[in-house]
């Protein structure tokens, strides 16, 4: 087992490497393999893996990349993520990817898929129309057809034949990975002083570019190493963070929240690593199992339709309580319609439950943290001094 510091440093290197050297190395070691990118918030990574591919999460370029050409494609009232994705692609950094999956997260990602198709006509591009009808006979049938086609197309690219056992093995691997992601969240909620929010984020985000088998090992080691740490708890406020499920915050923002006296014990960063909320069945037809998992065991997300409006926010209240968070910070990317439209409903649910909250906006390249520091600091104080606990 490696030591904690080098493990985190390696994850940080992976996260900050916009040239995807790790993906290139994987391809060099797997000559028939393909690398398939996917955007937030959910993609069936099992299908890509079973077809002999490496699923690669693309969540923007953070604060490191200057946007030159990306701005030409999107209006000023559009979030930052599509600009940096286009910038990455037009500067050749995503050339290593044979294809790209654009899930139906929002209009912006749909438009991004169109721009992508125009810009890279030779690349395999799949707009993943995730059904919002959750009846097995309707949305289920539709979704199974999509998954079936996607699997066949990807297999055609690698030369492998679609194979049920192979897909089941992939389902098993991703189930194991998701269980460890869940273990990490649970361990961090139990002893947040041992699991830094920023470090945990880096370890999780490394899973966007690492093969699932390797990421599972990294997660297991990280949890063990953190649990064994001898760290003194601080009198911090325990907070849950919501709204950062697509465009990711700069690392400095997570660090700022920690420094402002907050233990982040629950968040919605990188939902693709936690979706679905329960194991995909390893019995029966794995395509059917993936369909059922989308229909029946979702994560709460702004991009997923909820028929009964009164249910909106219930999962947030439950997860906040389960993680013993004392308040919720809504950290939302500027111009993120799904998150900003959802926020009033979520806030109403928190208000009904007597859970304190505050909110601010960011962009992936936000550099000025002082206002966020002040807001998070005063929020932490108000929880500690005027809250119940």
């Amino acid at each position: 087992m490696q030591q904690l510091e080098p493990l985190i440093a390696r994850c940080r290197d992976l996260v900050e490497d916009l040239d995807l050297a790790n993906v290139k190395a994987w391809k060099a070691a797997h000559p028939r393999g393909i690398a398939i990118g996917y955007l937030p918030i959910y993609a069936p990574r099992e299908i890509v893996h079973a077809a002999g591919g490496l699923p690669v999460g693309v969540v923007g370029a953070g604060e490191e990349l200057e946007i030159v050409r990306g701005d030409a494609c999107f209006q000023s009232y559009i979030c930052h993520l599509p600009r940096s994705v286009i910038e990455l692609a037009l500067t050749g950094r995503l050339d290593v990817l044979e294809g790209m999956i654009f899930p139906s997260t929002c209009d912006v990602i749909r438009n991004l898929s169109g721009i992508w198709k125009l810009s890279f006509p030779g690349k395999w591009t799949h707009y993943l129309d995730l059904p919002q009808n959750f009846e097995p006979e309707m949305g289920g049938v539709f979704y199974r057809r999509i998954l079936h086609e996607m699997y066949a197309e990807l297999c055609a690219m690698t030369g492998l034949a679609p194979d049920t056992e192979c897909l089941r093995a992939s389902v098993r691997l991703f189930n194991e990975n998701r269980r460890l992601v869940g273990d990490l969240y649970a361990a961090r909620a139990a002893e947040p002083w041992k699991f830094g929010a920023k470090d945990s984020y880096l370890v999780l985000r490394a899973g966007l570019v690492l093969p699932v088998e390797e990421h599972t090992t990294v997660l297991r080691e990280y949890i063990q190493l953190c649990k064994a740490r001898d760290v003194r708890p601080l009198d911090n406020a325990r907070i849950a963070l919501r709204g950062a499920f697509c465009e990711q915050p700069p690392l400095a923002l997570i660090q700022t929240l920690e420094r402002a006296g907050c233990y982040v014990v629950e968040d919605d960063f990188l939902p693709m690593l936690r979706w679905p909320s329960a194991d995909v069945s390893e019995q029966g037809d794995p395509l059917d199992a993936l369909v059922t998992s989308w229909l029946a065991t979702p994560c709460e997300a702004a991009s997923r339709f909820v028929k009964d409006g009164s249910e909106k926010g219930c999962t947030l209240v439950d997860s906040t309580r389960e993680a013993k968070a004392e308040g919720v910070i809504f950290a939302t990317p500027s111009f993120c319609d799904p998150a900003l439209l959802d926020r009033p409903m979520l806030q109403a649910a928190l208000q009904r439950s007597g859970i304190a909250f505050t909110s601010f906006k960011y962009a992936e390249n936000t550099g000025q943290m002082q206002p966020i520091r002040e807001q998070a600091g005063t929020f932490a104080d108000s929880i500690k001094l005027w809250g119940e606990a």
Binding site: D235, N236, K384, L385, W386
Partner: protein, 276 residues
């Protein structure tokens, strides 16, 4: 007997106090204050803390809670950190129990904080990033004028014909002062002009925060009698009903507030652990 420490890490100086909780108001047992002066911040913080412990004759292990504020978020031996406004409000209230607001004038910023009788922050206003209403600006000026910080207040109050200084920008204000020196303006008149300029800026802040009545002045500049006199004079001219009060411990207000909140948190945590 609950002992706590409060450490206020400012951009110019680190202030530390050791407090004893009593049935009445908390009692200050010891104080420590050191300038940062470009040294290793961690070492300055530790040294100021040790000074406070020594003057209180208390060992670190006897402290139930070590609270930091200001830039003290990374002090490794802290128990918890509180935001500076929260601490100046509570510390100000300790120094002047009937204060309705605190005017914190530190090295970099001026802040007006309105609070309720429990020390809960009700609202605040803060100067912008420009440092012309702050202690750092004043310290720079003393270097141009060749005087010590302690001389500023008494000299300023002798100024009979104050010269107007830019109240918008520290760089422009410093240029104004250099020009005044070369024009032969007396030091008291220059200082009085600077104080009136700062007073105008701070009073605008007070007004925009909706603060009135008794206001406790906290932070390093609370000791500047020239500034307080200029503020009282300007408030009278502007018709702002203000009773500005500074105390000898005003520079420690942030640290005192942190220590008091630390004791409060310790009691709360003990109670919640007991009921669990």
């Amino acid at each position: 007997m609950l002992l706590t420490a409060g450490i206020d890490v400012g951009s110019n100086a680190v202030k530390a106090v050791v407090l004893e909780e009593t049935s009445a108001a908390p009692r200050i047992l010891g104080r420590g204050k050191l300038k940062v002066r470009g040294g290793e911040l961690d070492e300055v913080v530790r040294a100021a803390f040790e000074l406070a412990l020594a003057s209180a004759n208390v060992r670190e292990s006897e402290l139930a809670y070590i609270a930091t504020t200001g830039e003290g978020e990374n002090v490794p031996f802290r128990t918890g950190h509180f935001y500076s406004m929260t601490c100046h409000a509570r510390g100000g209230l300790h120094l002047v129990p009937d204060a309705l607001a605190a005017l914190d004038v530190g090295a970099l910023h001026g802040k007006v904080i309105r609070m309720d009788p429990r020390g809960k922050v009700l609202g605040y206003r803060m100067t912008s990033q420009c440092a012309s209403g702050s202690g750092q600006f004043l310290e720079n000026i003393t270097r141009y004028l060749g005087i010590s910080l302690e001389e500023i207040g008494p000299l300023s109050q002798r100024g009979a014909h104050p010269e107007a200084v830019s109240s918008v920008c520290a760089v422009l204000a410093e240029t104004d002062v250099i020009n005044m020196v070369s024009r032969g303006i007396s030091v008291p008149d220059i200082l009085k002009g600077i104080h009136l300029s700062m007073a105008g800026r701070l009073l605008r802040l007070v007004r925009s925060a909706g603060a009135e009545g008794r206001v406790v002045v906290t932070g390093g500049l609370a000791a500047d009698t020239g500034l307080l006199a200029a503020m009282a004079e300007s408030a009278g001219e502007l018709g702002i009903a203000l009773d500005l009060v500074a105390q000898p411990d005003s520079a420690y207000a942030g640290a005192i507030g942190a220590g008091i909140w630390g004791a409060y948190r310790q009691r709360k945590l003990t109670a919640s652990a007991g009921s669990a």
